[in-house]
Structure formats: C-alpha cells, structure tokens
C-alpha cells in the first residue's frame, strides 16, 4: 500500500511538471502563430480545431489539470486510509486541498486574471506537498523494515 501511495503522490508531482511544460508549449505556439500573421480570437478558440503547433498544450493542461491530477489526489486520500504511516492521511488531504484550490483558481482566472499569479505559485506548493508525501511514506517504510529486522535479531 505504501508503494501505491507513493506512486500516486509521484504521479501528482509529475502531473505538475506536465502542466508547466504544456502551458509553456501552448503559449509559445500561440505567440509564434500570431507572429506569422495568425489570429487567435473567440471564433477560433470555440471552434476547438487545432490551428497551430502548441495548441495541444492548452488541451493537455485542461485535461491533466481538471481531470487526471484531481482524480489522482482523490485516489491518494482513499489509499491513505490503508497506509499505516502517521499523518499519511493528513498529507493526502493537504495535497487534495491544494489541488482543489488550484482547479478553482484555474477556472476563475479568466474572470480575474490576477488570480493567475496565485495559480502559478500554488502549482509549486502542489508539487512540493505531493513530493514530500511520496518521500515520507517511503522513508517511513525503510525505517519500519530496519526496525523489524533488529526485532528479529533480538528474538
């Protein structure tokens, strides 16, 4: 169970890296498209048709951000109930909480663009919390194994 917990937490952390890469790919592609005389307007965006290299980045960002990562975080919290490590649930809850805030910010920043500043920064908090949750159960797992070994020798 610890392995699963750790794997899911690393998935969330990797997801954040994918998000950063995808959005930079998207923005880069859009700026290039505009420089070449292309036009990005509401008609193009709502047509959901790929017009330029990099547009896929926005799609990946939406699917991973609103789908993959939140689902992984929910799974992490469920798995946490089967992991016998102190505060595994607390850290899973923290990860989920940060992600819920992140998704909310992601939807709301179209309304209030300044929220994008927090959205970008909060991503680092998600990454940190997920990586920490992943590392600490594995460390705790190694500690328990070593403890068990010494117990065996003593007995």
């Amino acid at each position: 169970m610890r392995k699963i917990y750790s794997a899911i937490a690393w998935t969330v952390a990797a997801g954040v890296a994918v998000q950063a890469a995808a959005i930079a790919f998207g923005v880069g592609g859009m700026v290039h498209f505009v420089q070449e005389g292309g036009v990005v307007d509401k008609a193009l965006i709502e047509s959901r048709q790929l017009a330029y290299t990099g547009e896929l980045g926005f799609w990946i960002h939406a699917i991973v951000g609103a789908g993959v990562i939140p689902l992984a975080a929910v799974a992490l919290l469920i798995v946490a109930f089967f992991v016998r490590v102190p505060r595994a649930r607390l850290w899973a809850a923290i990860v989920l909480g940060l992600i819920m805030a992140q998704v909310t910010l992601g939807f709301a920043l179209r309304d209030i663009p300044y929220l994008g500043l927090i959205h970008g920064t909060n991503a680092l908090a998600v990454l940190g919390a997920a990586a920490f949750a992943a590392v600490r159960v594995r460390q705790s797992s190694r500690a328990t194994r070593q403890e068990a070994k010494s117990d065996a020798v003593a007995a």
Binding site: K42, A43, L44, S47, R48, L50, F81
Partner: protein, 504 residues
C-alpha cells in the same frame, strides 16, 4: 489492540467506499436519458412576476409536467405551417453531403457541403414572399435538418430534430415552407448534431430584401460576409482571404456580416461606419461609429454601411482575421488596429416605440446560467445549469399566445453565452439595471458576458415549441438549452429514439 482497531477502521472504510461506489453507480444510471420528449423535460418555470394571474395553475409549481392542456384541443407542431395552398414565390433545392470541403486559399477539411460547397448557396427572397426549400440528405450519416436562424418561421419549419421534425436520413427529403415576413440578414444551418454539422459547414446565408426599396439608392453594393472557421482556418464566404468591393467615392456598401462561428466576432474600421441592422432588424437612426468595435455574437448578424472613401480604399475588418476593402479596386489599405472600446448597442441610435407594452407583462421569467459538476446522460462533467438545474431538469418556459414575456437572463458563469431564441425576436430592455436608451435593440442572438444580466422582452406571437439556447453549440450539448412552450402545443417527435434525433 492496535491491529484490531485498525482492522475495524479498514473494514469501515471498505464498507464506506463500497456504499459510495454503489450509490454512485445508482445515481449515474438514473441520469441516463434514453428516448425522451421535450414535453417531459424539467418542470414549468416559475413566473417571478409575483402577480397572481390566470396562469398560476400551470406556472406556479414545479415538477415533471406531462405538458399542460395536452388532453383537450392539443395542437401538434406539425400543423403549425405556412398556408399549404399558397404557391411558393421562391423555390430552392438544397442537397447536403458529408464530404471534404474545399477551402480556397487554405487546405480542405472533412465536413459538410450544401449543393457541393460550404457555405451553401445564398437564399434570396423579397419580404412577403413564400419561400419553399426542398432539403435532400444525400450522405450525412447522422441525418440532418435545416434551421432558419433568426427567421420567425412557423414552428413546423424550425428544423430542430426531435422537436419539430425527425432528422432527415440519407436518401430522405423534407420541405420547408415559410413566409419571409421580416426583411434582413439571416442564415440556415443543420440542427441535428449541430455542434458537429454547423462547425463542419452545413450552413448558408439567407437575405430577405425589403418589400419596397428605400428611396435612397446610393448603395453601390450589397454583399454577404459570412464568417466561418474551417479546421482552424478563418474564412470569409468560404475562402481564406480578404474581399474587394469596387465602389465609387462617396457611395455606400452594405455589408451583411454573418457570424456562423461558435464565438463572438469583432467588426471595426479605421474610417466611420454605421450599423444598419442587428440580427436582421433595422436600427433607428444609426450614427457613425469610429474608434469602436462592433461585437457580433455567435449566430448573430449585423448589417454595416461602409462609405467608399474619396480616394483609395477603406478596410472593414470582419472578424479578427479577414477584411473587406471598399472603394478603388486597385488600392490597398492596411489592417487597422483593433479599438479597445466596444460599441454599446444599448445606447446606439434613436429611441422608437417598441410596438407592444412591456409595463404589465403576461409572464416574467428568470434564465440564470451557472455551472457545476454533475452527470448528464451518464457523462460526468462540469455542466451548465439553468436556474440552478442541470439538463434535463431545466425549466420549461410556458407561454400563451399573445403574452408579453419578460425574461431576465443572468450569467453567473465565467464564459460568454450567445443566447438564441428560436422563432421570435426579442428586444433588450436593460442591462445590469441600466435601461436601453437608443434605438430598439432587437436580436435573436444576444451575447451575455460573465456576471451581466439582461432584461429582454418578446411577444408570444408564434405558437410552437421553441428552443432557447446558447449558440456556442458545445455549451448546448453540455446542458445550456431550454424551451419556450406555448400552452396547448405538443410534439410527436422524440430525442434519442429510432429516428436518431440529437438536436444539439
């Protein structure tokens, strides 16, 4: 002790998860729609006028309605037709095919054509004429229909699959007949799997000339500018490129801009232009627009007057990507910078009588748009809600013929919604509590921006069952569709049944 408690906890969590999964599965299966009739959709919307009226019997409660007054004297939508004995003045045959669409100046895409091209041919008629269009589906696999966007047709000719007709299958045909009552710029498009078929090009323009030509004949040209994105390519009348209109200095060109896309289009110019009509309805005393852009909602139209300059040409930007050069055909004009300011149609032109009394409306409804997570037809997602309800539990707006209906459209979401009411024109009364102060602003497609609220009014003068939905068509797929239903009108058609009707 520790392990027993832990075991108990695990069992408890296991039971909780199993229960949650079971309840989730049950809830999921309860969202499956199967075959249904719009007659059974949602509940009667609550008339919020607060005035007890003879209507409260069927508008004052919610719950599943079997359609009020269906027992006695029910009128089927199929009987709401133009005079069947009157011969047609304008006749056309439109053949739909699912095939590659040639996009001159760009690359072809897999889509839909009408009579071999997309956009299809322009249907032209004179006000008062009876238009008869025979629609043939040669190869559109999902079936197709034609909806006459903005034209107040009789309900049977509205072309909404599963509401006013069955989708026309391959090899099938359907005849649309209507009187072109109002002059103006309109368009036709499929209303079967519309988010795919409209995007793929099953559409064309309709121009209805006024019965009597205006006395002033300084109009050098009258052209259609239909905007559509094919496979990520912005086109003007189906071509990736600008157009040139030769016009003598000082003469005027009428440009009928049709936004057949899924999002707002901006129109602007470095020289003054005038907005002659919105959604086919004339603006009273339009004035020059300069340093402002005109926004046309998805599905909306605007007729713009562009004077030819004394020398050279002037460029009218239609949509972000395309332009029309008016004047000397040998001259060019640079793309003008997009103005930051938007023309406010709430205060454009001079006031004029509306032609009906909005002071004591027969019905007052709210149409509040929001968004939440949920499941529609077994599909989880972040869906639109109307008055807090998810599709298909959205309100049904019941009206009686002759009612003056006031509706307050509120957008509590973060997206723009181009709201389109079939079969009627609405007049804007106010926005965010500010009363309209210009020409009567009549539309059939109205952009409601995030956190805006519009008060609109219309006269219920065209019996039937009429869709009232967002024209960013994927939003309609995701639940942003309701209906205005006249008392005593029923439909024999169903959605998701044998005929495969999927209007959105």
């Amino acid at each position: 002790m520790q392990s027993r408690r832990s075991l108990a906890l695990r069992v408890l969590v296991g039971i909780a998860v199993a229960t949650a999964v079971g309840a989730g599965a049950l809830a999921w299966s309860s969202t499956l729609l199967g075959e249904y009739s719009v007659m059974d959709m949602g509940g009667a919307a609550v008339d919020v006028s607060g005035v007890p009226s003879e209507h409260t019997g069927h508008s004052g409660h919610t719950g599943h309605s079997a359609g009020p007054d269906t027992s006695a004297g029910a009128v089927s939508v199929t009987t709401l037709t133009a005079d069947p004995d009157r011969p047609a003045d304008v006749h056309a045959e439109l053949i739909a095919r699912q095939e590659r669409v040639d996009v001159p100046g760009g690359h072809s895409i897999q889509g839909y054509t009408v009579n071999g091209t997309s956009p299809g041919p322009v249907i032209r008629a004179r006000q008062g004429e009876l238009v008869e269009v025979v629609f043939v589906n040669e190869s559109v696999a999902d079936g197709a229909t034609l909806h006459w966007h903005g034209i107040d047709v009789p309900n049977s000719a509205d072309g909404v699959a599963g509401v006013t007709q069955d989708a026309v299958p391959i090899g099938g045909r359907h005849t649309y007949r209507f009187v072109a009552t109002d002059a103006g710029t309109y368009w036709y498009h499929s209303h079967q799997v519309s988010h795919e078929q409209v995007e793929g090009g099953l559409l064309g323009a309709v121009v209805i000339e006024p019965a009597a030509q205006p006395a002033a004949t300084d109009v050098a040209a009258d052209i259609v500018a239909l905007l559509h994105v094919y496979g990520g390519q912005h086109t003007l009348n189906g071509r990736v490129g600008d157009e040139q209109v030769a016009a003598e200095p000082g003469s005027m060109v009428r440009v009928r801009v049709i936004n057949s896309d899924q999002g707002t289009a901006a129109v602007w110019s470095a020289a003054p232009f005038r907005v002659l009509a919105t959604d086919g309805q004339e603006v009273n005393s339009p004035t020059d627009v300069l340093h402002q852009k005109l926004l046309i909602p998805a599905g909306g139209r605007a007729d713009v007057a562009v004077p030819a300059p004394l020398q050279g040409a002037v460029r009218l930007q239609v949509g972000g990507a395309r332009g029309i050069l008016v004047g000397d055909p040998t001259a060019t004009a640079p793309r003008p910078a997009q103005p930051a300011e938007t023309l406010d149609l709430l205060a454009y032109g001079d006031p004029a009588p509306l032609g009906f009394d909005v002071a004591s409306p027969g019905r007052v409804y709210d149409y509040v748009i929001s968004r939440r997570f949920g499941i529609i037809d077994g599909r989880p997602g972040n869906f639109w809600t109307i008055n807090g309800k998810l599709f298909p539990d959205v309100p049904m707006f019941h009206v009686s013929e002759g009612d003056v209906v006031v509706m307050k459209i509120v957008n509590d979401s973060a997206d723009v919604h181009p709201m389109h009411l079939h079969g009627h024109h609405v007049v804007v009364l106010s926005r965010d509590g500010v009363a309209a102060s210009g020409s009567p602003w009549r539309v059939d497609s109205l952009d409601v921006h995030p956190h805006e609220s519009y008060e609109i009014a219309f006269v219920a003068d065209n019996p039937g069952i009429w869709a009232d939905h967002c024209h960013t068509l994927l939003h309609a797929v995701d639940g942003l569709i309701a209906h205005v239903m006249y008392d005593g009108v029923t439909t024999p058609f169903t959605i998701n049944g044998e005929a495969g009707n999927k209007p959105e």
